[in-house]
Amino acid sequence: MKAGSNLEKILEKGQFAVTCECGPPKSASGDVIRQKAKMIKGKVDAANITDNQAAIVRLSSFAAATILMQAGIEPVMQVTARDRNRLAIQSDLLGASAVGIRDVLLLTGDHQKLGNHPEAKGVFDLDSIQMIDMARRMRDERKFQNGEQMDVPPKLFIGAAENPLAEPAEYRVPRLEKKVVAGADFIQTQGVFDIERFEKWMAAVRAKGLHKKVHIIGGVVPLKSLGAAKFVNDKVLGMTVPDSLFERMKKASDAKAEGVKIAVETIEALRKIEGVQGVHIMAIEWEEKVPEIVEKAGLLPRPAV
């Protein structure tokens, strides 16, 4: 065990993991996180706390992850390179470990120009691959990025993201390999809608044997409405909704129920793909639907490890 987190144990045992996303509020309300925690308690193995998601200022991921943990849910603390340099990132990783946060997801981050403070200076001191490499060295070699030694290294289960459908498409697997070499323990993918394309990507992942070196968790984005499908397709970076799903959302008499149904079908399809070890449900501002989706997908109760 590298960090001994719940998520790590489940993945290491070869059980199918379930994580979800939990976005902190655009305010100082810790209660919002506590309420979300109540909704998902016992339904997921860990929940991601996003870090100024979409470059919009929110309650910090460190604080929100701490609140979530206090509410009895294992947090996956997301850390982006957009807002922090190598000093701040290392400092946050040490702090996270000290308070008991084990799972981290290290990301480059959406560009600040796309968020609500587009005039901000972006940091991008490191990129995601350099962050992963740095976190692994901190944990395994007790070394700071500059090579200095530390007494007590952080206990971290290191996650990374990958968008199988971004471009250049043929570079996506080599890029994943770079993240694995850098030290990623698990991967959460961008939301999958086009199973066929995702399967092709997984085949290429397996051809390189990467599914044996890193735990791959497939992303699922439940669609709340036809408008949400359009939003995801047009506005969310690197996600495309196939026409067939647009049609289904359009024809559905109950769009929300149809969205849940599509999510459940996606989970079932992902489960059948060799090398996919879990699902990450990103029900953006729709966290209350997570229990229903997990249940309908036959993933309850969650294993106690």
């Binding site: 120009k113 990129d127 350099q130 968008n163 471009e167 070499v181």
Partner: protein, 223 residues
Amino acid sequence: MIVGERKSVTEILEMTKGYDRIFVAGCGTCVTVCLAGGEKEVSVLSSLLKINGKKQGHEVKVVEGTIERQCEREWVGEMKDKVRDAEAVLSMACGIGVQLVAEMYPEKPVLPALNTTLMGFPTQHAIWLENCRACGDCILHLTGGICPVTRCAKQLMNGPCGGSQNGKCEVDSQTDCAWALIYYKLKAMDRLDWMSKIQPPKRWDIAGHSGPRKTVKEEEVVP
């Protein structure tokens, strides 16, 4: 070359307000080529200042002059008579020129007529693309001659981010994704192996994040 563009008329009139003898100083090198601060632009701006003066009911005496380079002491030294006779110098050089003029004539207000925008080359007539940030540690030999420090909005060193779509950047769908360009270039060169190596964190200290940098050519320095 260094590219600049003229500030708005409003801004220039605001900063020249109160001066009745102005020396509009052009620069004959980069900003002449990028159509921002050469002889022609000096003449246009000078007329504008005069007309505005008349509108305000007083005469503004404007002297024009364009030297070869405002970033070299020898040339800037030649401006001394015109500078002496003026209350203020309105420099149409890049920020480097403005600063050298200000340093060499410390008693005179030196006003910037341009915004210095980038270092780059033209992609077509009258359109310039930024290509270099002078980061002090060139890696163009590894990236097919395309600079990710300048052309990637996140200055990534290890390949494209998850927002790269249709060969374009997530920040602006009109801007090429630098790493898509690099990928296809290296692929054509059969050197994709250059992208599989993990590039270590960049030294931003020498990229301009530790105060002004200095380049010294030891053997040429006169003690």
